[in-house]
Symmetry: D2
Subunit: 310 residues, 4 copies
């Protein structure tokens, strides 16, 4: 490994954190449900795990938070690895485009979502899992517990319930897709799974460990277990690159240069293939719904380490 990779990343984390402290955090905590609104907005944690087992942490890296849309990667990987049918007949693999498109895009494309990482696409993934798995909620949870090596990772039923109660736009999406025949199960069954996985709580440490197989050709380093083939692993990373950040995928690719996925809980996970997985958490969000400081932190980190996939 090159010299800069030998450096003490924890020291670098501290330096970048201190610099970011000088910057006013112009983001806002997600407030559409009370459970997200009442989080302490000054939390900050980061955790990096290399494929050869080194770990670097800073701040609240062990505190669990609501991972929200980051969980869409887990359900996608589960469907992509185990499902025999062609999932690409039911969703596309293209960036979502402008935010006002969600509904008109679904209408124009007759119920086919743009990719598995936007809400509509993840609902179709949940619909597929609801068909293929014996106990979808339990099977998904077991999969994530195994990846994170922690059997206490769990759904937060209060968060799931709140999301469900206020999720009218999500219900608009799923009903529109069902009107086109692209949701096969009862809507409630699909949405129960969807809102459950959004409510998962994990720490930065657990997230970086759980995503490490994506930096390692699909193989979990410590166990040797193969989650995805090397080709499908590359393709999952490619999908995160173009579709992982809502309407800001281009910006993240441009500034950070790594595949990754964000959630409105303020978490971001990024993967450097062949090297590491990193998770950062800072609850305030920019206008596009991605962690304000998390984005800046990762931009600084890949700029200083001169490491990106480009």
């Amino acid at each position: 490994m090159a010299l800069h990779e030998m450096m003490n990343y924890s020291q670098l984390f501290l330096e970048i954190f201190n610099e970011l402290q000088q910057i006013e955090d112009r983001g806002r905590v997600a407030d559409y449900i009370p459970e997200l609104a009442h989080i302490n907005p000054d939390h900050f944690g980061v955790h990096l795990t290399t494929i050869d087992g080194r770990q670097y942490a800073f701040g609240d890296s062990e505190v669990r938070f609501s991972i929200q849309s980051i969980a869409k990667v887990f359900t996608f990987v589960l469907a992509y690895s185990r499902v025999k049918s062609n999932i690409w007949e039911r969703m596309d693999m293209e960036p979502a485009g402008t935010p006002f498109n969600s509904l008109i895009q679904l209408e124009y494309d007759r119920g086919i979502p743009r990719n598995p990482f936007i809400n509509a696409g993840s609902m179709v993934v949940c619909d597929i899992l609801a068909d293929q798995l014996a106990s979808p909620r339990e099977n998904v949870l077991a999969f994530i517990r195994s990846l994170s090596r922690n059997s206490t990772v769990d759904y937060n039923p209060i968060v799931a319930h709140s999301e469900k109660r206020s999720g009218f736009r999500n219900y608009a999406l799923v009903n529109l897709m069902k009107s086109f025949g692209n949701i096969r199960n009862e809507i409630d069954k699909v949405m129960d799974l969807y809102f459950s996985i959004c409510s998962l709580e994990m720490s930065c440490r657990e997230l970086s460990e759980s995503f490490l197989f994506l930096a390692n050709n699909g193989i979990v380093p410590h166990s040797g277990e193969s989650i995805l083939s090397p080709s499908r692993t590359k393709r999952t990373n490619a999908l995160m690159q173009t579709c992982g950040f809502y309407d800001e995928a281009g910006q993240f690719t441009f500034k950070v240069g790594l595949p990754g996925k964000s959630g409105v809980g303020g978490g971001i996970v990024a993967v450097h293939p062949g090297k590491y997985a990193i998770a950062v958490w800072s609850p305030r969000l920019n206008k596009k719904g991605n962690s304000y400081k998390g984005m800046l932190f990762l931009e600084e980190f890949t700029t200083r380490t001169k490491l990106s996939i480009f």
Copy 2:
């Protein structure tokens, strides 16, 4: 370098080409102007240049063809490297989304194109160059001749004239942007430059050599000349990754896994940072406007070499 990189790529090119011969080419040559419609659709060429100077060629790799939108990378790099003002105030860096969006997106975003590699964005780049360069057409040409190490690379005025005569949709775009104040020069001045650069003719060899600096931290390997800073080079590659293939950027990223840019002349250039630049040419286009066999060829190539940035 790893073993697989020592292999004779030319031999691999032949193998993949032979396999693709078995597949019916369901693409169609672009026919909106006679100069593109009359090309022999069976042309096929590929050329790969590594940053340490090795070259691998196959087929019509020395035949010049109309590079069309591939030229948008050259004008963007020229603007990005030399222009002091913030070009990101006048265009975004996000994928374009669905194809029907071009006009509504411009209207919704009040004349700000999604990125510099769609038509509207490249027109704004031309508008910027028209302001900043003394002799825009000549300066752009000199820049590309220098990159390609060939002083005979040139515009094709007949193609430029045909494009201009049939380019009503492009005129719709530029007029809409001008109505929002995002085109500063006279429309004819901007469009003359725009249609000229689309008419450039280069061979696969010339293209792969011209793009090689993007695989080499912004430095032209043979001359040592710095075109872009390492950071801006990475960012240009990132832009090609998310925005280089119209409505198929996700697909290309997913299947090929390299940043690149296509043109309706049937050419595709892709860059593997730290390794090589490759250009492929096959005139028949898929429904999204990208070379049908060119896409398949690159997918096979990165799959077999197990080389992609992900």
Copy 3:
């Protein structure tokens, strides 16, 4: 009254009917629920009632059919006549525009429907009635029974249930509006009322009698009861003129020249202010969802009688 108004309309009905028999009916019966799909497509009925009490009938004018969206006029009139609050803060009074707009329009206008006669607008009307009436389903029914002078007019619960089971696009609309705060009641409460009123069954005779107050300055001719003020009556007619035929309001206005409202059961009601109300029923629909022969019949009728509001 002028001479042509003394003519025997029933004779004219027969003549037009015979001519239309020569024309191939290229329409198709609505088939999204079994109850509509299984109707005999060759039914044809027409009934005209003048404000001075004359009645002219032809064909199946006494057969009840599913009036579907025609009922949106009844609920609107009820809300417009009895509700104190400004209903125009919650919906607009403009034609809906192109059909693909329903969802993007609601998104663009932040949950405010274009008018009370499109589905989304009628849902808001139902939401208003759900707030204002003690027993909305019963009150609406009593109102319509009174207008039609027939206490056996009723909802068809099987139709309502079928509509509800297949109404995913309607649920998409109502959820989207609720996400913007423009639906106040529980979605199920609103949609139960909405699907009930769509299931109403009435004959051409009952419809023409029920709409007669709109031709008579808001006063029911036989009873003298005032339903709406003269000004609000004119405005309701104006709304039907611009918004009563989905994406074909312009066509109907152009060809027929009377305010009216259609339903996917194949019914159309039209009003000539100061003269009459006419209802026609022919189940096969054109591509825009309006009765194919019903439109042609009314076009011929107003052309031959040289009577239209223009």
Copy 4:
């Protein structure tokens, strides 16, 4: 005629005018070209002509102003009366819907405008006239001079030139239509005619006289000349009803209840079939681009006279 029609309309005009003086005029003069921006915003004129020859005037009823889009009715009538081909293959007859639609609608409908009274539709009308008339500019002018009984009515070349210089959005529309093949002539030829007719200057008196044939079954009352058949006259009025006020056609129909057409110069003409034509002028525009006080004036006028077509 009924009693209220015997009243002195001029007296009523004064009363309404005085009341409107109490209301703050929240409109704004069109300012996209200097010739419109520099008009005295306090001008106010109204002129009503009945089909039996009575005339009622108030204020600046003899002052000429830029009639702008009102002229679209003249060119449409000319094309509708004289052109043999089916103009409805090249444009629709439906309201335009939401304002952001102009371009996406044209794209969705492959270059077919929604109706002849929006800009795009009027450009197609100009394209048709450019084919059919020997000297389009002169022929159109002669037609309008004849209708207005005033041979000094003329184009304002300075206004036409200004419109052309700033009309980038209009050029976007015409180029988009030409890309779909719905403009047959050279763009400059079409747009010269289009901008000329927008620059016409007429007084309220001249406008009300020129539109009178539309209230009289297509016949010019004083000369007996037939401009349109009774059926086509009704249909032209119907078109004005649904399409005459941009995104406010529903509002105007609802509040005023007469077919009409407005222009950004602050003029509005309305027609009561069988009775009269009225023109009002007040330069300040509401947000939809229609005369703020002109709309209020006509609403009051039809409310007080209890005269509308509904």
